[in-house]
């Protein structure tokens, strides 16, 4: 293992190596910034370009992309309330209010700091866990996934920020939306009105883009002015100060990183869930939970730490068994096969050196992309001073183009638009969007795992309690449900925030 690390380092510190890594970082940042498209698209687009490269060079490129995407995405989340990348949606919740208060620089700096630390923690965990990777993956089957999904749904109770009832309702609506489409366990199609477009269900990226980006553009369209409110200062000098905040709030950063790594390691949950759970987690351990949604820096730190640590976590099932830990990993596996590396239990054994190039690239890219962001944060934050009526149509157009580019389906664009209107309605009537999103993502996994588990056990419910991992998780879920629910109810009397 040491040899491989050294070989990987050698490979990196060559002119070509550095070139590919930088290219990856650049691509990752640009794709991360553009709303609607993210790491998955970037990797998919660049896969053919890696035909002629050596495997280790391809890995440097890909690792570069992966490490930079969510950093880029945090920028648009903070400045425009537009998630550049699905998992960055949670960053909008407090990042954007900070930008509105003229503290965009602070937020971007904090995001960069949290991303760096989170990324490092994720990768260190990955490396530490390599010897037992396979056993970890084997621990999690459908019963465990079901309990995990329940845990995620239970986090909805926490994430409501004082609007408990409407939070639950939004969650229920999210679950309803999750059922649309083909049912892999039952074998039939549900709630699609015969539409072929809805066969695949409500797609996350268009829905998210609509709920957060488009809806905010509608809101700005109604209110006018600029994003940063007139009386707010420029606050750009706060970039480095923001970076430091990630260290000051080390507990939030650590918690976000751990959540990201864990959730990233469980296939099917994904970075978006991790980010929102990290946000909820940050709210839980915060001393001022009622300020979340109004510009609490911890609400930026938690999710951003998770966004980068999840890549390290997602590599665990990917490298051990070839099970993609995230959508990006799924496309990334294509690059591996292209270079003759079959994803599966032999991957790390046969291609250890190349895999270490990837891990190294991921690490360096995390560091480097954040440095780049810190450098350009000042000019970027000026966007919040632009007249909103020039900004709105541009953001709408670019967001929708990005959404279309994902699957070349007009339906996605329409969906994004409709969710934009839905999102705006939800803002006006006080329905938290965060719970709808969590439910939309987890609903499918929860129901599918539930039925899978019962199929496995022949209808026997005890399967959820007789397997050790799911028993442990079940106990955790109950604990999770009781403590925060009580806290939320008690806090419910105070003035709630907008989310």
């Amino acid at each position: 293992m040491l040899e491989s690390t050294l070989a990987a380092l050698q490979g990196l510190f060559t002119p070509l190596g550095v070139l590919f890594l930088l290219l990856g970082v650049l691509v990752g940042l640009v794709f991360g910034v553009m709303p609607g498209i993210g790491g998955t698209t970037a990797i998919a687009l660049l896969t053919p370009l890696t035909f002629t490269l050596e495997s280790s060079q391809a890995m440097l490129l890909m690792g570069g992309i992966m490490g930079a995407v969510s950093t880029g995405g945090s920028i648009t989340s903070i400045l425009l309330n537009t998630p550049g990348n699905a998992p960055n949606a949670a960053t909008c919740l407090d990042g954007y209010p900070l930008a509105q208060q003229g503290k965009a620089g602070l937020a971007i700096g904090a995001a960069a700091g949290a991303s760096t630390i989170g990324g490092i923690i994720g990768i260190v965990t990955l490396i530490a866990v390599i010897p037992v990777m396979k056993s970890i993956v084997l621990l999690f089957g459908p019963p465990e996934y079901f309990v995990l999904a329940l845990m995620g749904l239970a986090a909805i109770a926490v994430a409501t920020g004082g609007r408990f009832l409407r939070g639950l309702i939004a969650g229920a609506l999210g679950l309803i939306l999750a059922f649309v489409g083909y049912d892999a366990v039952g074998g039939g199609v549900r709630f699609t009105l015969g539409s072929n477009y809805l066969w695949d269900g409500i797609q996350l990226v268009p829905a998210l883009t609509g709920l957060f980006a488009i809806s905010e553009m509608i809101a700005l369209s109604v209110s006018g002015g600029t994003i940063a409110k007139a009386n707010a200062g420029m606050g750009i000098g706060g970039v480095l100060q923001g970076f430091w905040q990630a260290v000051v709030h080390w507990k939030t950063t650590l918690q976000g990183s751990v959540i990201g790594t864990l959730i990233g390691a469980v296939p099917g949950l994904g970075g978006t869930v991790a980010a929102f759970l990290a946000y909820s987690g940050a709210m839980q351990i915060s001393k001022n939970p009622e300020t979340f949604g109004k510009g609490n820096i911890e609400g930026v730190i938690g999710p951003e730490a998770s966004n980068n640590s999840k890549d390290g976590g997602a590599l665990i099932p990917t490298l051990s068994f070839g099970i993609p830990g995230s959508a990006e990993m799924a496309v990334f596996l294509g690059v591996l096969v292209l270079h003759g590396m079959q994803p599966g239990p032999m991957l790390l054994i046969e291609h250890e050196g190349v895999m270490f190039s990837l891990i190294l690239a991921l690490l360096v890219s995390t560091l480097f992309s954040n440095v780049v962001v810190l450098a350009v944060a000042r000019p970027l934050a000026l966007i919040t001073r632009i007249d909103v009526h020039l900004l709105v149509p541009v953001v709408v157009a670019v967001a929708l183009v990005g959404v279309y580019a994902l699957r070349e389906t007009l339906g996605d664009v329409v969906l994004a638009g409709l969710f934009g209107i839905l999102g705006y309605i939800m803002i006006r009537f006080g329905f938290p969007r965060i719970t709808l999103v969590i439910a939309l993502v987890l609903g499918e996994l929860a129901e599918r795992s539930y039925h899978q588990s019962l199929n496995m056990s022949g209808g026997d419910w005890s399967i959820f309690f007789t397997r050790t991992p799911s028993l442990v998780l079940s106990i955790l879920v109950v604990g999770l449900l009781l403590a925060p629910a009580v806290r939320t109810l008690r806090r419910g009397r105070r003035r709630p925030a907008t989310a």
């Binding site: 993956v137 079959q342 899978q452 199929n455």
Partner: protein, 316 residues
């Protein structure tokens, strides 16, 4: 002189089919991939496209286009509805594209009406169990005393179809555990113990055998490439040889023969290009090219086999 007469005839729209073929291709060709980027079919098309361009004279581009959705049905519907002028073709998963209709799903294309242009590749299956399992033979599967639990992704997948057919022909009852998200996911399910056995392409499952996580009971190859593992023919079921996943290139119904020939010749020559062969070898996805008539025969045989087991495929 002949050329001028021909051109005049074409201009007067007197010989439509032949005219189309004579100038083919005049504009870019769209090569549809019914799946998202990154998968095996995506890679095959993107690999061969530039080489096809070369063989077609280099004047036009062959543009890979992902049309994902509905498990591949959207892409197939797209090529089915396209104009039969040779400018829209698609790569098809056989028998994957045929299974939805067989299991009773609503489809917007008729697989039997599509034009078969070529077969690019083929991949056989193996059936394997976890190494720690006590199952060592097909007989053991029968002696289980209960249905064999076999994980797969969903009821439209080729692996599921394979399992259903194995169960029918090898005479053991199957309980399908669908719902897993990807190939490696459902294979690991057997290693974990969620299920007893499963089927999948040899390139993927072979790795699990190599790593010691699984034990293969047989393969559907003509000559087994897995050490010590018999072929299904050797076990007494030669009809099942060749059961697996094929990658065909198809066109809309009614594609003129001259255009079919132009396209398939270009692909045949492309596949022989040493550069493309090197790429294929590097990614361990060799081409196994069949020209139109042989491809059609192959496809028909495969589809007939699966159609025979329609009843088994419709069981849940």
């Amino acid at each position: 002189m002949l050329k001028t007469l021909f051109a005049a005839a074409c201009a007067a729209a007197l010989l439509p089919a032949a005219c189309l073929a004579a100038d083919f291709p005049q504009k870019n060709i769209e090569f549809i991939i019914p799946f998202g980027p990154g998968g095996g079919f995506d890679r095959t098309v993107r690999a061969i496209a530039p080489f096809m361009e070369k063989q077609l004279g280099g004047k036009v581009s062959v543009l890979p286009r992902n049309v994902p959705g509905a498990g591949g049905k959207r892409g197939m519907a797209t090529v089915y509805r396209a104009k039969p002028d040779g400018y829209t073709i698609a790569i098809a998963n056989i028998p994957g594209a045929a299974i939805p209709a067989l299991t009773g799903e609503k489809v917007e294309y008729d697989i039997n009406k599509l034009t078969w242009i070529a077969r690019l590749a083929t991949e056989e299956y193996t059936l394997a169990v976890a190494t720690k399992s006590s199952i060592r033979s097909i007989e053991d599967l029968r002696k289980l005393g209960r249905p064999v639990k076999m994980p797969s992704t969903d009821f439209g997948s080729t692996a599921y179809a394979g399992m259903a057919i194995f169960g029918e022909m090898l005479k053991f009852p199957v309980q399908h555990l669908t719902g897993y998200k990807g190939t490696n996911d459902y294979i690991v399910a057997v290693v974990r113990g969620d299920g007893d056995a499963t089927t999948g392409p040899i390139s993927t499952m072979g790795k699990f055998v190599e790593s010691g996580d699984m034990r293969a009971l047989f393969t559907t190859e003509e000559k087994s490439t897995l050490k010590g593992v018999p072929t299904i023919a050797e076990l007494g079921y030669p009809d099942l040889t060749g059961l697996g996943v094929d990658r065909f290139v198809v066109g809309p119904p009614g594609l003129p023969p001259a255009i079919i020939k132009a396209l398939s010749d270009a692909m045949a020559k492309a596949v022989q290009d040493p550069e493309l062969q090197a790429i294929a070898e590097k990614s361990r996805q060799p081409f196994a090219f069949l020209p139109p008539d042989k491809a059609k025969a192959n496809a028909d045989r495969s589809l007939a086999l699966y159609a025979r087991y329609k009843a088994a495929l419709q069981k849940r």
